[in-house]
């Protein structure tokens, strides 16, 4: 995987450009690719020396390659993979089949792709839950039918006035009515309940509810008992890898390989990508965007500017408050971007062992969830509410080198630990993170050592990424991995600002294409593709 592919090619002829895309994250690249596919001349400028943004693979220790930020893929839309012919450019996903949850009393739960085995595993805790588990999965897939059209298209505008919109709404309403009342009720509950309450309507044993509920809080500043966390559960049942319904997968070569594949596809379509080219601000004329100014002073003119960075950065830094209507500026500031999670990446000289189930079996191959009880998760959340990182955090752990040996030297391993909660705003202030970084890393390792006693002795290198680091290194405001919380009031037609969910902005010729827009975060790609589609339909470029 060549992190500097950008320079390795002869630079194509420069400008004048139809569009300049700020940020070579996966959404920026996808948007650029779709525009180029439609024959537009596109330049992507990226601050870092490699493409991908938070979809990145980096060699942080000799021979060890890490998906430093996002580490699994599930929702990258199949139609995007087809449109851009990504497999041809090296896109390959290795499915993660297992979810392993160790408990504090030494028991454990292993769920995998074999329904019967999983059923038996759950039955050890509750025969009743074992029975409903499969039904639940089917139910969720059904409910997913509401969300799917929503994430593959523009957000419906409930207050539409013009006939086309009303028609879309009517079609959506028919779609909803067609599914029947029970389905509708299910979705209402889905959108309004907490993950725990929703799951408790199905299951009785905490050993199942706790680890399932965490998928509702990943990347949010909410607890598993906070209303509005249930709907994220759906995403686990909508994940599609090579077309077939499956939860999560590991990109071969790390998530950076996805970005590389998209970049390669984009270049093949004629997109020019300039790395190490941080944008200082937008070029504006008569309140319209006319291009960008790089930090080195270069001015790049383009018919339209597409922002692949988060809403705060886009409007409060690149555009500048002075160019915004006061009310809009206030709405942007209100858009909540509270980072709540961090990453700890470990280079290991050998596999660690789980105390409750020794050996290198399936328990290590999938993802390992440290979510032993609802109370455990709530206490972790309470710490963060009052401005401290969780002393006993929720963790989602993957050992990618077991599935994809190319990321570590023979016999050695990489471990990716997603950690929540780590609030960006500490009591002592965000700037205190550098001082608390290692303490945070220690809390993670200490907690994990309860389950993997021999882990500390096998660590060759440790990378701790706090929300503050995510902001400094990857330009994620407040370290929010989704470019803005996925809370009810920040979704669909309200993302990022009520009435501005269609990738347009109040600034003429400035568009938005990243996770801060509908349908939101994760390696989904829909915002980038939908933005490009909308721009082309509107003949904006």
């Amino acid at each position: 995987m060549n992190a500097h592919a950008g320079e390795s090619r002869p630079a194509p002829a420069r400008g004048p450009y139809d569009a300049v895309v700020v940020g070579a994250g996966h959404n920026g690249l996808i948007c650029a690719a779709y525009l180029a596919k439609a024959g537009r001349k596109v330049l992507v400028v990226e601050r870092r020396r490699q493409v991908g943004g938070a979809t990145t693979t980096e060699e942080i220790h000799p021979g060890f390659k890490f998906s430093c930020c996002s580490y699994v893929v599930s929702l990258l839309r199949p139609w995007i993979i087809r449109d851009l012919d990504l497999p041809r450019y090296g896109y390959e996903v290795l499915p993660l089949e297992e979810t392993f949850t160790p408990f504090e009393d030494g028991s454990y739960l292993l769920r995998d792709s074999d329904p019967e085995r999983t059923k038996r595993a759950i039955a050890r805790f509750s025969p009743r839950d074992a029975e409903v588990y499969k039904q639940f999965g089917q139910k969720m897939a059904e409910l997913g039918r509401l969300v799917k059209p929503m994430i593959d298209g523009l957000a419906p505008d409930p207050l539409a006035r013009n006939p086309f919109e009303l028609l879309r709404l009517a079609r959506f309403a028919r779609h909803v009515r067609g599914q029947g009342e029970e389905w509708l009720i299910g979705n209402v509950k889905m959108m309004t309940m907490s993950a725990v309450d929703f799951l408790s309507e199905w299951f009785e044993c905490e050993q199942l509810i706790a680890p399932m509920s965490v998928s509702g809080i990943i990347g949010t500043f909410l607890g598993v008992r906070s209303p509005g966390t249930a709907y994220v559960l759906l995403h686990h049942y909508m994940g599609e890898i090579d077309g077939s319904y499956r939860a999560w997968g590991l990109p071969k070569g790390g998530t950076g390989a996805i970005a590389e594949a998209i970049a390669a596809a984009a270049r093949a379509l004629g997109v020019e990508i300039r790395l190490g080219a941080p944008v200082e601000r937008l070029l504006m004329k008569h309140g319209r965007a006319t291009g960008v100014v790089l930090e080195n002073g270069d001015e790049i003119a383009a018919k339209v500017v597409v922002s692949g960075v988060d809403p705060h950065r886009t409007f409060l830094r690149l555009v500048g408050e002075e160019h915004l209507e006061p009310e809009f500026a206030q709405q942007v500031k209100r858009f909540k971007m509270r980072g709540s999670s961090g990453k700890v990446n470990l280079a290991l000289d050998a596999l660690p062992e789980l105390a409750c189930l020794p050996g290198a079996g399936p328990q290590l191959r999938g993802d390992i969830t440290i979510a032993p009880s609802i109370e455990y998760l709530e206490r972790a959340y309470d710490d963060a509410k009052y401005g401290a990182f969780s002393r006993r955090p929720f963790m989602d752990i993957v050992i990618p080198s077991l599935t994809d040996p190319t990321v570590a030297p023979p016999g050695k391993h990489t471990m990716s630990i997603f950690v929540q909660y780590a609030p960006y705003k500490l009591k002592e202030g965000a700037a205190d993170w550098p001082r608390q970084r290692e303490a945070f890393g220690d809390a993670v390792i200490d907690t994990l050592a309860q389950y993997m006693p021999n882990l500390p002795g096998r660590i060759l290198h440790r990378q701790v990424l706090t929300p503050w680091d995510l902001e400094q290194v990857y330009g994620l405001t407040e370290g929010n991995i989704f470019h803005g919380e996925l809370s009810l009031e920040q979704l669909a037609f309200q993302r990022p600002v009520p009435g501005w969910s269609r990738y347009r902005t109040p600034i003429g010729h400035l568009w938005m294409c990243a996770s801060g827009t509908h349908p939101g975060g994760g390696i989904m790609g829909a915002p980038g593709a939908l933005c490009a589609r909308t721009m082309l339909r509107a003949r904006a470029v």
């Binding site: 207050l159 709530e378 309200q494």
Partner: protein, 542 residues
């Protein structure tokens, strides 16, 4: 004796339902388990000669429109201005916030149409907010004073919308008839007319957590904490829980009148209205069984063994009690029982009543008497911390106190010169780990008094009598499942068409002839008597 309808429970909703049915010429009997009518809204004698007007001591959500439907003013209902709320603080004077609502907009009650009344509401709000800006809020922060004006203006705009939503049945979930479609269209139209900008703002703020919303508006922590409290008291949620802002809007955007004599006076008026219309009200008549025969409601059997038959039964007890206890288990399909089992009804507020030999005086404001006082830690996080305890089935060590001193406006509630204090203390979970032992009760009452004492140093010296009602006590005394004051937690997924359960959202249940008209149904949660009215209307429509 043959009856047209039986109403279970003579609380505010039961009496309203009976009054409505009797007024329509139906032969109705109201059956009350306790020796007195009123339920949670009825007067409570805490000590000989000392009464508080209701376990639920806030009648601020009574809508003049609903009162007009039963002509309650003819039966002695009198409106009054809402008293100001004192947000107390340790080591400071606190902030006196003007009460929302005055008798000024009785327009609805006189049969005037909503908009006329609303216009007055708006003017009233304008004046009130201006006063506040000039007053104690402005003294703390000019910015907050301006924000207060915007806040009240936003609520005033919302009022007609929320008032009509809360005083009519929820929209049909899956429109079956042309009528349903027309109704949906009408409601959609109302949102439309409300204006895109305001509606977008409503959709944005409704699902938020109350702390985020108030933080956007105000910079004074005491103001944020004090204004947030009504959104979470009696819920299983803290100010940082998403969706709590909906509770705030519902609590604040109502007409906001108060009643002379408080909830007890409302109960008295409802009882007179019901009797005048010819309803029979029987106390000490506990219903043990609700009979479902051939799939229909058939009647009830009382503790005395007496059986009463009627084709229409309106249950105003909480929905879980009606479907899981009064109806013999196993009578209904599991699917239906499951629907009711899923209703979350976890009580989190305890009631403390004090009889005092003198006025409750705060050190910060000597010589002044307040009807309405809020005592919290001074920051919204203190309220959240108080809630955290509930998650672990513990009792809050520093409870939040929602205090009323009804004897200030109504001296008749206590002997001359004496006073009664009514306190809602949050949080105290119904299912506290280890149960409500004598020790835990004593400790909790002590923490309440200690908190009160920090602001009113003399209070202990004045105590003639005191009473603690934990959620467990409330459950036992008022047959209240989980001790949940609202018959079901106010939460986004337990509102509108989801309240109390999707199959009973429009008061008729999946059992023909059986209607749910208690606080657990739409329009309920607090003293509104709307569910009773609408359930009766639904029954009459058949």
């Amino acid at each position: 004796m043959t009856l047209d309808a039986i109403v279970i429970g003579a609380g505010q909703n039961g009496l309203a339902a009976a009054a409505r049915l009797a007024a329509a010429g139906r032969k109705v009997a109201v059956l009350e388990r306790r020796g007195a009518v009123g339920g949670l809204a009825g007067a409570v004698e805490i000590h000989p000669g000392y009464r508080v007007p209701g376990i639920l001591h806030d009648e601020g959500r009574v809508s003049p429109r609903a009162a007009a439907r039963l002509g309650l003013e003819r039966h002695g209902l009198a409106w009054r201005d809402a008293p100001p709320v004192l947000l107390a603080e340790a080591g400071g004077p606190g902030i006196l916030v003007p009460g929302a609502g005055t008798a000024g907009s009785r327009g609805h009650g006189d049969g005037g149409n909503g908009s006329a009344g609303t216009a007055r509401n708006d003017r009233r709000d304008g004046g009130m907010a201006a006063a506040a800006a000039a007053g104690e809020i402005g003294a703390r922060s000019r910015r907050d004073a301006a924000a207060w004006l915007r806040y009240r203006a936003f609520l005033a705009k919302l009022r007609p919308l929320l008032d009509s939503v809360m005083s009519s049945p929820p929209p049909p979930l899956s429109p079956a008839s042309a009528g349903d479609l027309w109704e949906l269209a009408r409601r959609g139209g109302r949102l439309w007319r409300h204006g895109r900008r305001d509606t977008l703002e409503l959709l944005r703020v409704a699902p938020m957590c109350v702390a985020d919303y108030l933080d956007e508006l105000f910079e004074t922590p005491l103001l944020v904490a004090g204004l947030a409290a009504p959104a979470v008291i009696g819920t299983w949620a803290g100010p940082w829980s998403a969706g709590t802002n909906t509770n705030l809007l519902l609590a604040e955007a109502v007409p906001g009148h108060r009643l002379a004599g408080g909830p007890a006076a409302l109960v008295a008026a409802l009882e007179r209205a019901a009797r005048a219309a010819g309803a029979e009200i029987r106390t000490d008549a506990e219903v043990l069984r609700l009979h479902v025969e051939n799939g229909r409601a058939a009647g009830v059997t009382l503790a005395s063994g007496e059986r009463l038959d009627a084709a229409t039964v309106i249950a105003t007890c909480d929905p879980k009690r009606a479907f899981l206890e009064l109806i013999a288990p196993g009578t209904l399909p599991i699917r239906i029982e499951e629907e009711y089992r899923r209703i979350r009804a976890r009580g989190t507020a305890a009631k403390v009543h004090l009889a005092l030999s003198g006025p409750l005086e705060l050190a910060a404001r000597p010589g002044q008497a307040f009807e309405h006082i809020r005592i919290g830690g001074g920051h919204v996080d203190d309220l959240e911390r108080a809630f955290d305890a509930v998650k672990y089935r513990e009792v809050s060590p520093c409870p939040h106190l929602e205090i009323r001193v009804p004897s200030v406006a109504d001296p008749g509630l206590a002997p001359a010169g004496h006073h009664v204090v009514s306190i809602l203390a949050s949080y105290a979970p119904h299912d506290v780990a280890g149960g409500w032992t004598e020790k835990r009760r004593a400790d909790f009452l002590e923490s309440v008094l200690a908190t009160l004492e920090r602001h009113a140093p003399d209070v202990r010296r004045l105590i003639v009598a005191q009473e603690l009602l934990t959620p467990a006590d409330l459950e036992a005394r008022y047959a209240l499942t989980g001790g949940q004051l609202h018959h079901g937690e106010p939460a986004l997924d337990q509102l509108l068409v989801m309240r109390p359960a999707p199959s009973a959202a429009r008061y008729a249940t999946s059992v023909p002839g059986l209607y749910l008209g208690g606080s657990g149904s739409h329009g309920g949660g607090g003293v509104t008597f709307v569910p009773g009215l609408l359930a009766a209307a639904a029954a009459l429509a058949r």
